[in-house]
Amino acid sequence: MSSLRNAIRAQKTDWGHPTKAKGRAILMKTLTHLDRLEAEAIHIIREVVAEADKPVMLYSVGKDSAVMLHLARKAFYPSPPPFPLLHVDTTWKFKAMYELRDKMARDSGMDLLVYQNPEAVEKGINPFDHGALHTDMWKTEGLKQALDKYGFDAAFGGARRDEEKSRAKERIFSFRTSSHGWDPKNQRPELWNLYNARKAKGESIRVFPISNWTELDIWQYIHLNEIPIVPLYFADKRPTVERDGMLLMVDDDRFPLEPGEVPVMRSIRFRTLGCYPLTGAVESEAKTLPEVIQETLLTTTSERQGRAIDKDAGGAGMEVKKQQGYF
């Protein structure tokens, strides 16, 4: 690993061919695709801070959030990012996610706001008994309530266009009505890198700085920048049960086992992290980042396949959810 990193470092400072410009020779560095994606994301994050009244960064502790947070730290260095992190909590995240969340907030010097929908707390909404209502109450409603409570007018999210069909058509600055609705047929044109952040009182924007990143870009960037991620992305022996063709991890004793069901230790890891009973694991031996990347590249199923949420409401599941205010 470390020798690989050194090799990559060495190549990183490798300057390209000299070119002539206006009579003076300058050494020109050829920007790689990751250089350009990073520069674009930083530009987007700074535009929001310059033009919005009260921005916030949605932080879900997953690998995409990890990259987005890292980009925010780069954008404002040596200052800390001038906005807080918001975790819309469902109380059903993996234990390892809560640990990393608190560590990252400390390290970045940013405020961490944790919001739990009080109605969902009161009713004890959980993924085992309530199905789709779980996502709706904790995440969709929870997010809307949190944004309203603090009066945030711009929220960064780590969604990528390669994840899902309706996301491929969403703008980087995605405009929401005062009731948080998304109108896919009436999106603002987005030309060059000019973003229009103006809005009326009560309206807000969701901003996706890593729209143009793919899953492979994310992994590679984490690898090159040594960004801390939740250990669940790496293979390890963990207690699991198999349901409806999905491998579920038994993360704590709130997991209701069915009669006769006994957790089995399997070497598993996660390609995507959500609420633990809703997120399927894959059997894997990939214990390092290059091994994870290798497995990702050779795999034949898409990343969101492990998530139950996209399968609701037929082919347009995510589009409908977004219109209702889901991120």
């Binding site: 090799a7 190549q11 070119t19 410009a21 206006k22 300058i26 020109m28 560095k29 920007l31 790689t32 695709h33 990751l34 990073e38 520069a39 674009e40 930083i42 530009h43 700074r46 535009e47 310059a50 730290r73 780069k74 954008a75 404002f76 260095y77 200052s79 800390p80 266009r161 390669d162 069909k165 309706s166 996301r167 491929a168 058509k169 896919p184 047929k185 044109p189 987005e190 030309l191 060059w192 890198n193 000019l194 229009n196 103006r198 009326a200 729209s211 143009n212 793919t214 492979l216 870009d217 590679q220 290059p290 990347i293 590249l297 050779l298 795999t299 199923t301 898409s302 082919g315 589009e319």
Partner: protein
């Protein structure tokens, strides 16, 4: 799926991934990125081509393929075959209607590059979407159906790509399988296109015979076209020069996004380098102030850089404490960009509501935000025939050339030289919608030759002699709301208090200064603009000006507000409900408007935009004219 070839190169990549992932990662890290757009209508097989490229570069996964297979049988247009178009048409309405409405972005990698494809809709009513997709592209693939040849839409797409400044154009003659891979058909199409392309100024393009459906000349050269001596589409995409490396050779320009000031010891200026490069020791100039200094550091989170180039987001520090903030442009000292406030620009109108000449819009160019007005277009372009046509305005999807005036000096370069400092958007001040994209052609010298004459007795001395603070009391409200009555009373009260005043009344002004103006939207705006300018001259003379005009549009009142120093514009909203005003109907105008005898009457067939935050609001259903006048005078004199 039976006709998909097993590709030798795909296999080699897989082998490298499987056997030496570290080596693969190093190679992947050094890939460059190309953004391109594909243009063509549904029938040209555009989505099929993209689906094919995604499939061939293994960007389609099994679960997506299963879903696609099921969708294809349900709503596909390819019989039992996989309909790749369904993969890229993401919105429910698009799948249902079988059309592409909005730009979709897709991603794939080859051994050399990462690609971002903007898949753009082809119909004329989606011109705005296509322009959006084209604005960030390094290259355009223009698809032609080999059976149909160069069509109106081919010309339109080519013109738009050329307009937005795309230098690399690929003419992909698709569906060659349906014309038996006939060289004669291909040559005839290329000849046709060459004539058209040179007529609109496209200097060069690359033509290739392909079949997106069968996979000919996409990733491997096809045996079906032995007469074709060029490269495959993917190979061409892998080797063409990208825009950012062209920009790196231009003079240094950095539009400032944000000032980074964590403590008293650090002051940095953050932004994305638009063109050129920068390193410590470089002499720079900050525009529009023109002040110069020297770069001391190029700061990033990963350590200071020796040099940074176009396309990188950085923070730079100066040797001297000179004025620099968001909207400023940092430039190489000896070759700075120009500043101006009048331009000729090409516009693409993006909004349903047509452009209103003379109305103030927000203009965003780089990180600069100013107020701007557009004149009547010089001409618009028929995108199908390229003919120039006379026009009074710009409608949705219209492309036209017009003059533009800004309220402040803008740092700019012509779009052809610099996309970042030459491209802008217009934003509606009321709805905040992005209504137009614009490209600066050149600045107009006219304004630069009219200099302000220095005057010894200035506005302050005029005001001091009269012992008062000048102001404009701007009355607004429906016809018959009571504006003139109350304005008259206010003037009488001020006169008795020895204040120097002047009342500008709507009807009276229209008898003289504005007698050439009618009641169309454009004329109403010009009416208000002139009244604003006259009021401003009178305040320069130290007067308290009272105006009584319906002035129904918020944007126009804001325009006048922006002409005057802070605090001198006092918006007085005479708030009388339409019902009440119509019942009064002092001049009998509502009756005429209702009968259709009078057109464009505010409140009846023309809107009234009520002020959002007026300095004074008078509810005439509660206050008497006398009480209202007292309240206004108290507000003016600061006694309220």
């Amino acid at each position: 799926m039976t006709d998909v070839n097993t590709k030798e190169d795909v296999y080699v990549v897989d082998k490298l991934i499987a056997e030496d992932i570290d080596a693969y990662l190093v190679s992947h890290e050094h890939k460059t990125m190309l953004r391109f757009i594909t243009c063509g209508s549904v029938d040209d097989g555009k989505s099929t081509l993209i689906g094919r490229m995604l499939y061939d570069s293994k960007m389609i996964f099994e679960d997506q393929l299963d879903a696609l297979s099921a969708d294809s049988k349900k709503v596909g247009t390819q019989g039992q075959e996989i309909d790749f178009a369904l993969l890229v048409d993401g919105l429910a309405a698009e799948r249902e209607q079988g059309i592409t409405i909005d730009v979709a972005y897709r991603f794939f990698n080859t051994e050399k590059r990462k690609f971002i494809v903007a898949d753009c809709p082809g119909h004329e009513q989606y011109t705005r979407n296509m322009v959006t997709g084209a604005s960030t592209a390094d290259l355009a693939v223009i698809l032609i159906d080999a059976r149909k040849g160069v069509l109106v839409q081919t010309r339109r797409h080519s013109y738009l790509c050329h307009l937005i400044g795309i230098k690399n154009i690929v003419l992909a003659v698709n569906k060659m399988d349906l014309v038996d891979y006939d060289e004669v058909v291909f040559d005839a199409i290329v000849k046709d296109y060459t004539e058209f392309a040179s007529s609109i100024g496209i200097e060069s393009f690359t033509a290739m015979p392909i079949s997106g459906f069968k996979g000919d000349n996409i990733t491997t050269l096809s045996e079906n076209t032995p007469w074709y001596k060029g490269t495959t589409l993917v190979e061409h995409l892998e080797t063409v020069e990208v825009l950012s490396s062209v920009d790196a050779d231009k003079p240094f320009r950095l539009p400032v996004q944000w000032v980074n000031r964590p403590n008293l010891d650090f002051r940095g200026f953050s932004g994305l380098i638009a063109t050129g490069g920068v390193k410590a020791g470089d002499k720079i100039r900050v525009l529009p102030s023109g002040k110069t200094s020297t770069i001391t550091r190029v700061v990033t989170y990963d350590g200071d850089l020796e040099e940074a180039v176009a396309g990188q987001s950085v923070t730079v520090c100066f040797e001297d404490e000179i004025d620099c903030s968001r909207g400023s442009v940092i430039s190489v000292a000896d070759n700075p960009p120009q500043t101006a406030d009048q331009f000729e620009s090409t516009f693409v109108w993006l909004a349903d509501e047509a452009m209103i000449p003379g109305r103030a819009y927000w203009l965003k160019l780089g990180t600069q935000m100013v107020s701007a007005t557009v004149q009547e277009p010089k001409y618009t372009v028929n995108v199908n025939t390229m003919e120039h046509m006379a026009a009074k305005t710009l409608e949705l999807n219209a492309i036209g050339v017009a003059e533009l005036t800004t309220d402040k000096q803008v740092v700019f370069e012509p779009y052809a030289e610099n996309r970042t400092l030459g491209g802008f958007i217009l934003i509606d001040k009321m709805t905040n919608a992005t209504v137009a994209a614009g490209m600066i052609n050149f600045s107009l010298r006219r304004s630069q030759n009219v200099h302000w004459q220095a005057i010894d007795i200035d506005r302050k001395q005029h005001a001091n002699l009269k012992n008062q603070k000048p102001a404009v009391l701007w009355f607004t409200g429906l016809s018959g709301s009571g504006k003139s009555t109350i304005a008259n009373m206010v003037e009488k009260k001020l006169h008795r208090m020895n204040r120097h005043t002047f009342l500008l009344d709507g009807d009276n002004v229209r008898h003289g200064l504005n007698k050439d103006l009618g009641f169309t939207e454009a004329d109403r705006i010009e009416n208000i603009r002139r009244v604003g300018e006259v009021a401003k001259l009178m305040t320069d003379g130290g007067l308290i000006v009272i105006t009584a005009f319906i002035s129904p549009f918020q944007a126009d009142r804001e325009m006048v507000r922006s002409m005057l120093p802070d605090g001198e514009f006092i918006e007085v909203f005479i708030d009388t409900p339409l019902k009440v005003a119509e019942a009064r109907d002092v001049k009998g105008l509502y009756k005429k408007a209702r009968s259709g005898e009078l057109k464009n009457f505010t409140g009846i067939d023309s809107p009234y935009e009520a002020p959002r935050n007026p300095e004074v609001r008078i509810d005439t259903t509660v206050l008497s004219p006398e009480e209202a006048a007292n309240l206004i005078v108290d507000t003016l004199l600061g006694d309220a």
